[in-house]
Symmetry: C2
Subunit: 301 residues, 2 copies
């Protein structure tokens, strides 16, 4: 595969191969990881990694992507960040598209450093700082904060997902302020639409995507119309309340255009009554399979 | 000092002790670090750290705070993040107030992990993930993304600076959209004002601050009036174009209310014609001293 293959093209190829539109959120919290795993490891970071490795192996056939949320690793300082990097590497080795959920956003010269960290080329030893396929970014600082990510993504065939409408309750406070007759998030969508022109793929979609929460289906449907050719990363499925019906509107007529993330609903599925602790990976695989099927069913596929 | 001493009170105490309102931005870029230093070290991360240690030691008497920008460390992966953590520790040991410029922002459960990482208590071994006094955060997700930082800061006497009006050119694209007759950043300011009530100090200022760029002095002056009792972190001095006159409007009548950051203008001052490479720390100290004096002069202090 050419290094500059478009990110969206790669994503839909994975969707075709796996018949799945699901993404697993690798947001491990120590206190919810089976205790026997932590007893077998020497540190919080090692325990997270041991958990993630087994989850990744178990769910890889049912999900197209993995989205580790870096906050849960930064919590444990540099060792935690090393576990994050290793988690990304492991997910990639298992054939998953890796989306680093970092929500970075800063002025141009700083954004360039972040872009390099997550989307940049490997060094002479063949190691990238973090070996991922895409990142999430925060648009509050405007175009010059996004430009360095576009430049790196263009060079490397990687992708980015810009926060447009997030899944949390207070997202309305700023994102839904009305400016010139439309909410702020639609203004952001308009910028995303412009940025997306920079990374065109072969199948009508850009390497520039949008984060659109599953918890606000009406707004998601409106955004789908506003942003043809922009892949959606849809958080909020499962634990946060979004259903397969809720996310259906994020897809196009052909069943592309979005991937849907579930974190806790997959990785902590073993907490359900029918499972035992030692079955955590099996439970995660079952939850991922069910999610994949639910979404496909809602799309009639 | 009680663990719950208010962040702003500690900040103004440092201002009193040092007669300085300057903050040094520790945004080291490998390609601008004197080459002899890198030849003496084994990795990029070690070189950054060696540079920072000498800069911190040299400027500590002239600045009240240090603001490492984490992007420049994340660039080098986990080892870079370890250098970031060590840089924070070193700045603290030299008596500086440490502001981690991380601009994090995420949904509540994730924000709690970030808040814990940067403002949370130390573990049983007495080590915090990152031992800093305050962080910068991005408000795009609204109150529930800020709440965990407020809770941690309240418990620990630490602080936060919320992005209100940033120093970069395209900050206008979203921050200056007009909603109900005022720009988005003033709506954010109103939220900051509300959040600030949670962390009152003894000297009329809150532990909740605002990031207000020095490059837009008129807007900064308006924000100073809108946000009494909210400390400003003012980036954009020096290399980005802000002058001592530009930042004067960010202070109150008594010369408190703001600290001003310069990164490249201090740490790479040795690039000026009158210095040699080996004098980089001396050059930084001279630049920090001059900045301190310029700001004090502009305030008539």
């Amino acid at each position: 595969m050419s290094a500059a293959a478009n990110f969206a093209d790669r994503l839909w190829q994975a969707v075709d191969e796996k018949r799945s539109r699901a993404c697993v959120g690798l947001d491990a919290r120590l206190e919810r990881i089976p205790s026997f795993l932590c007893e077998e490891t020497d540190s919080a970071a090692e325990c997270l990694l041991a958990f993630n490795r087994q989850i990744i192996e178990a769910v890889a056939e049912h999900v197209v992507a993995a989205k580790p949320q870096v906050a849960f690793y930064e919590m444990y300082g540099p060792a935690g960040v090393a576990a994050f990097a290793e988690t990304c590497r492991c997910a990639k080795q298992h054939g998953l598209v890796v989306i680093a959920d970092v929500k970075r956003g800063d002025i141009g010269s700083t954004a360039a450093a972040y872009a390099r960290a997550y989307l940049g080329p490997a060094d002479e030893q063949g190691r990238a700082a973090f070996d991922v396929d895409a990142v999430t970014i925060n648009p509050y600082l405007g175009s010059d904060s996004v430009e360095p990510f576009l430049a790196e993504a263009q060079a490397s065939g990687k992708g980015l997902f810009v926060l447009v409408k997030t899944s949390n309750k207070s997202s309305a406070e700023i994102q839904e302020l009305q400016a010139s007759g439309k909410p702020v998030y639609e203004h952001v969508a308009k910028l995303v639409s412009k940025w997306a022109q920079r990374l065109p793929g072969r199948r009508g979609y850009s390497g520039v995507g949008a984060v659109v929460g599953a918890t606000f289906p009406e707004q998601a449907a409106a955004l789908r119309k506003l942003l043809p050719g922009v892949p959606f990363l849809v958080p909020g499925y499962g634990a946060q309340g979004g259903s397969a019906q809720d996310v259906a509107c994020c897809f196009d007529e052909d069943g592309y255009g979005a991937i849907v993330n579930s974190s806790r609903g997959i990785i902590f599925a073993y907490e359900g009554a029918q499972w035992e602790e030692r079955q955590f990976a099996e439970a995660a695989a079952a939850a991922a399979r069910r999610m994949k099927q639910e979404i496909n069913a809602a799309l009639g596929r």
